[in-house]
């Protein structure tokens, strides 16, 4: 039993998937921050759409929130919203530092604390992407995400070292994803709309999600039903097909395809991206690496050979001119 547990959690592996996780999460956070930069006061400001006076009354007092800045604003005479901008700036800087892998744990801690403060204040405006960003930044703080491809440990000649902490971290990511998908699938399955296809139809008819004119789907209810059933199958079956090595690559591709579909048809690009990042770090990295080795690397080799051939030809003609 103990040996099984040890093999499952502690068999050494390299930290590349975790480095990918760090870099991709930091990049996504920067994109999200940049995207919302012009709307900070509306979403998080002291007198935003949901003002601090309301959010602080709803959020538990032990949760960090932007209303804690009010005494500082009063003491300094600087507007509270200016401090919100300062905090957003610090958050984006910490993500930059996390991205390059310098002072990784400190950067992750600052990013996690500030993101938590922002989502507590703007909890009414938050959706799935904030939920998973919070989870990801907490993991970046604790997991060895800065051991590879990081400024702190950068060297062109050292290869990633395998250790047990990488495996333990990946296992936590994997198991957490299984919890997420099975819970999400079961909750969907409890409503009739996912079984009869109405969930798909209703979603695509909403202006907030619709990217294309999908009225035609009413004439093909079977299609809506098949998409609904596929979603249930993918989410509730996730722990099974993603864990079995034979079905894993197909399962990974299917789940990535589902999230790409969500991004394309519902416009939830940030949410889809973060789910693809989680899935790739937890399960998909070996396939991504294999695809790189079999497709991209030979192409680059061929390009290099062509270039070497051109240089050799030039040198030859130059010598005999």
């Amino acid at each position: 039993m103990l040996s099984h547990l040890k093999r499952f959690f502690l068999a050494p592996s390299t930290g590349e998937p975790l480095a990918f996780f760090r870099i991709a999460i930091a990049l996504l956070g920067l994109v999200q921050g940049g995207w919302l930069a012009g709307s900070i006061t509306l979403l998080y400001g002291a007198n935003g759409l949901v003002p601090w006076s309301i959010s602080s009354g709803i959020v538990d007092p032990y949760m960090p929130q932007l209303s804690w800045l009010q005494p500082l604003a009063n003491a300094t005479g600087i507007a509270a919203d200016t401090w919100v901008y300062v905090l957003m700036g610090v958050y984006l800087c910490s993500l930059m530092v996390l991205l390059v892998g310098k002072f990784t744990r400190y950067a992750a801690f600052i990013a996690w604390a500030l993101q938590f403060t922002f989502i507590n204040t703007g909890f009414m405006a938050a959706y799935g992407v904030e939920t998973f960003m919070h989870i990801a930044l907490f993991y970046c703080m604790l997991m060895p995400v800065g051991n590879v491809y990081a400024w702190d440990n950068f060297s062109r000649h050292t290869k990633p070292v395998a250790n047990e902490w990488n495996t333990l971290s990946i296992r936590v990511l994997q198991l957490h994803l299984c919890v997420v998908y099975i819970a999400s699938g079961v909750e969907k399955a409890m409503g009739i709309q996912w079984w009869n296809g109405e969930a798909i139809w209703q979603t695509l008819m909403q202006g907030q999600f619709a990217r294309f004119d999908m009225h035609w789907m009413a004439s093909y209810p079977l299609l809506a039903k098949v998409i609904g059933w596929s979603t249930l199958l993918l989410e509730m079956g996730y722990p099974f097909f993603i864990w079995w090595r034979r079905t894993r690559p197909y399962g990974y591709l299917a789940i990535v395809g589902m999230h790409l579909g969500i991004a394309l048809f519902m416009g939830l690009q940030l949410f889809s991206s973060i789910m693809i990042i989680f899935n790739t770090a937890a399960f998909g990295w070996p396939y991504l690496q294999r695809a790189y080795k079999t497709i991209v690397q030979p192409l680059r080799e061929r390009k290099r050979l062509q270039r070497a051939g051109q240089l050799a030809t030039q040198a030859f003609w130059h010598q005999y001119e």
């Binding site: 109405e198 008819m205 907030q208």
Partner: protein
């Protein structure tokens, strides 16, 4: 053999994932009384991200909600909506509006939306907040000729308080 250090970290990982699973199974709704232990577990979940439920679009899809503001300054009035060219910002505004589907939240949310609009439009003296929901017929009804309908379900007027001298 597993060392003590390894054992501790595995134990922590299992604890964390158990908390995540319990929250995903709506732990907080199991009992009406919130014991001291439940409060600590909730706090742990909030801080670590293991305290989430994952009921995205479940168990059913709610109606789309929109808010129309009618601003008046005593001489004329205009109808407007709060949206920009920034799609990600609009999505968040929409997420806030979705709270109008909760009866208890309606009054407070309408008040805060009105206050925001009056601050953003200082010349306006009054604002009417009209919350409308989009009812999409099911596929069979749509095929039979029914069409999606926007229906107002909350209308509230707010006036600027006269400033005291």
């Amino acid at each position: 053999m597993i060392s003590i250090k390894h054992g501790c970290w595995i134990g922590l990982a299992i604890f964390h994932l158990t908390i995540a699973a319990l929250h995903a199974a709506h732990l907080e709704e199991w009992t009406t009384h919130k014991s001291w232990w439940l409060k600590q577990i909730t706090a742990y979940g909030d801080y670590t991200g293991s305290g989430n439920i994952f009921s995205f679009f479940a168990p059913h899809i709610g109606n789309e909600i929109a808010v129309v503001y009618t601003l008046a300054d005593g001489r004329e009035q205009r109808v407007t909506r709060l949206e920009s060219s920034n799609t990600e910002c609009n999505r968040r505004i929409q997420t806030i509006y979705n709270f109008f589907s909760i009866d208890e939240a309606q009054s407070l949310l309408a008040k805060s939306c009105a206050a925001y609009m009056l601050r953003e439009n200082p010349s306006s003296q009054m604002v009417r907040v009209t919350v409308i929901g989009k009812r999409v017929p099911d596929m069979a009804a749509y095929r039979a000729g029914a069409t999606p309908k926007w229906e107002p379900f909350l209308v509230k007027d707010f006036k600027k308080r006269p400033t005291t001298l």
